[in-house]
């Protein structure tokens, strides 16, 4: 209660300050939008920019989404450190933590836009916050690059909004046919969290894809976000005797659900979304992880340009293996660098224009392009857990 009151007060105060800033800043708006020192000479690898390019970063480093935010921070910092080492263009990160709170996220964006006058913002971690903060950035004319905001409709917010995280739907649409081809699935049972917007929308996509692919749905069960007891639903599914279980759940529910399925003797492959795509998941599930099939944006088994080097230098620096969040953050830095070097200009407008024209960029996620809407396109990765390791599933 208390913290809510306090943060509301902070937001109110920031809003007042921001309003003040807008009035003051209106006169020198022209100078603010184009900083001369950020426009460089040369192009591509030869590009030199005098002043460091300020990059704003908003991640959830504490609170509920910290599990992702920490990996994102590490991935992004590692990439910019490497890029700064190349010379020519230097990037200066201004890092903010939104504590997984919407108010904090909005305040952080205000600060980065008005006070730090950054050229681009990376983040926030959650789609819920992106819907408000991206709107603010759009109005201020600051390009934003989402790296884990996979919700529907995010790129539609405006022409300053970009993302490099493929939507869950795209990943699922790929993993279901791949699983069918590799394992000969004819019928499946579906289970999803019907309380969460993200998992519900993924569920709708799943049923559509299953329908298109001619895979029969023999069981359809639901549960709620906070549930940890799934034995009743799983018992019913066991009676339906499907070839596989297709699951749309958040990470918290996934571990007990899969464990309980195995315990009840439901040994069929389990096809899931992004929630599965983490080495932590295999560690937590141990033997029960065998046969999990995941469609995601990245895998350590992926043979993409620079992936092996990325994994090695990440592991050396942080003493743990990177996950998909880290890989997407790492990719974001390279996308920004590519956009800045393309026009050899670190100003907001130039970055916006050049980011929108990124095409066939080689990244650790694979060959990646952005379309005119700011939506990302790259091939999703389908993996299966075998002998305690993610391996690529060949369709």
């Amino acid at each position: 209660m208390r913290s809510r009151v306090a943060s509301t007060a902070v937001v109110a105060a920031v809003a007042v300050l921001a309003a003040g800033c807008v009035e003051d800043g209106a006169a020198d708006d022209e100078e603010a939008t184009a900083v001369e020192g950020l426009a460089g000479e040369g192009s591509g690898e030869e590009c030199t920019i005098e002043e460091p390019v300020p990059v704003g970063v908003v991640f959830s480093l504490t609170g509920g989404a910290a599990f992702a935010g920490e990996y994102q921070r590490e991935g992004l910092e590692l990439a910019f450190e490497e890029i700064n080492g190349k010379g020519g263009v230097e990037y200066e990160l201004v890092l903010e933590d939104d504590a997984t709170e919407l108010e904090d996220s909005i305040a952080a964006f205000e600060k980065l836009i008005e006070r730090d006058e950054v050229s681009i913002i990376v983040g926030p971690t959650l789609s819920d916050m992106a819907f408000s903060t991206f709107e603010d950035a759009q109005q201020a004319g600051v390009p934003v690059l989402g790296i884990s905001t996979t919700a529907k409709g995010i790129p539609d917010i405006g022409d300053y909004v970009f993302r490099n995280s493929i939507p869950e739907e795209v990943a699922l649409a790929q993993s279901l046919p791949a699983a069918r081809d590799a394992l000969g699935l004819e019928n499946v049972a579906v289970m999803h969290d019907n309380e969460d917007e993200f998992t519900s929308s993924a569920y709708t996509t799943m049923t559509e894809v299953l329908d298109e692919e001619g895979i029969e749905i023999v069981g359809d069960e639901t549960f709620q976000t906070a549930d940890t007891e799934f034995r009743s639903q799983l018992t019913k599914i066991r009676e339906d005797d499907p070839d596989a279980l297709v699951l749309s759940a958040l990470p918290a529910a996934t571990v007990p659900l899969v464990q309980q399925a195995r315990e009840l003797g439901l040994d069929v492959p389990i096809v899931g979304g992004n929630a599965f795509n983490s080495p932590v998941m295999i560690d937590n599930l141990e033997d029960a992880a065998e046969g999990l099939i995941v469609g995601g944006a990245w895998s350590d088994a992926l043979d993409s340009p620079g992936n092996a080097e990325f994994i090695e230098s990440y592991t050396d620096t942080y003493d743990r293996a990177p996950d998909q969040f880290a890989a997407q953050a790492y990719t974001a830095a390279h996308m920004i660098d590519a956009a800045v070097r393309a026009g050899c200009d670190g100003n907001r407008e130039a970055i916006k224009t050049n980011l929108g024209q990124l095409s066939e960029l080689d990244t650790v996620l694979g060959t990646l392009s952005l379309d005119e809407n700011g939506e990302v396109h790259h091939e999703p990765v389908v993996q299966i857990v075998e002998d305690g390791e993610f391996t690529l599933l060949d369709g």
Partner: protein, 292 residues
């Protein structure tokens, strides 16, 4: 079908154990202790810590978690309830201060263990699954059911047959009269909190063993069900909480089996209202809703 009955029974035994500690405090002291769910969560995380991080054997972790729960209960009573004793708004103020205590406890757990789920290593607890007549039952489930029953019956025995239990019942009947008769009401109050919280922490541990991980939201998830169990059984009734916990667990499992998983809460809570229509005081409650 048999499998569903077993599923319901095991889930219900945790509901019952959670609810029984909660209802004990209400039955004797008329305090609504809203920190109970936080103590449940703390017990869960503590058991992951003791078993997976410190490597203690499980039989040693059981009493330690109960002991820790008991100590937190003493602290809770001392900090959140005793300073308010005698105020005209004692019950309402206590309710609020227990929410505050619970919030602080969760913040401490989060500071120590972070926000991620903490899973229990499978070596700590043998991952045995027995199949009897087509029904799969894990060792963790059997242990949970067994321990929950032993603890609940143990508590019933303490209340019914020990000097402490007699003193508790006297305080429940009339605290002032109990004091006049030479009963140390403060000590009885503190003991009640210690017992209640030890059971709450234990329920958290059993939950963790059962689902394989501790989660910061686990207390919130069970709290509502716990309330329903207490109302259904009759506020303050130990036997009522036991029976209602099992009934609710079974009702949920059977709804999923026969009607569909989306209807679980509708049917389970519909059942609650249906029973209250017939017996407003709950299954085992008395009209004044105060017994032990």
């Amino acid at each position: 079908m048999l499998q569903q009955l077993a599923n319901g029974l095991f889930a219900g035994s945790i509901y019952a154990l959670f609810a029984i500690g909660f209802t004990l405090v209400f039955g004797i002291l008329r305090h609504l202790n809203l920190a109970h769910a936080a103590i449940f969560t703390t017990g869960g995380f503590l058991s992951v810590d003791l078993i997976s991080r410190q490597g203690l054997p499980i039989w040693l972790a059981f009493p330690l978690v109960m002991l820790a729960g008991g100590l937190i209960g003493l602290l809770l009573e001392r900090i959140a309830f005793r300073p308010l004793a005698g105020r005209p708004d004692e019950h309402f103020a206590g309710l609020i201060s227990s929410v505050a205590f619970g919030g602080m406890l969760i913040a401490l757990v989060q500071a120590r263990y972070g926000t991620e789920q903490q899973s229990i290593s499978s070596e700590a607890f043998p991952n045995e699954v027995y199949t009897v007549a087509g029904v799969s039952i894990s060792l963790a489930q059997l242990t949970t059911l067994g321990l929950a029953l032993v603890l609940m019956l143990g508590l019933a025995w303490v209340v019914a047959a020990t000097p402490l239990g007699r003193a508790m019942r006297a305080v429940a009947e009339n605290a002032r009269a109990a004091r006049v008769l030479g009963i140390n009401v403060e000590r009885v109050t503190a003991s009640t909190y210690a017992l209640s919280s030890a059971l709450g922490a234990m329920a958290g541990m059993l939950m963790v063993l059962n689902v394989g991980q501790g989660d910061l939201g686990m207390g919130l998830a069970i709290e509502l069900t716990g309330f329903a169990v207490i109302i259904l059984g009759g506020m303050g009734s130990l036997w009522g909480a036991m029976a209602a916990g099992l009934i609710l667990g079974l009702a949920e499992a059977l709804t999923i089996h026969h009607i569909g998983s989306s209807w679980k809460d509708v049917v389970a809570f519909g059942l609650l209202f249906a029973i209250l229509l017939v017996r407003p005081q709950g299954l085992f409650g008395t009209i004044k809703a105060r017994e032990v």
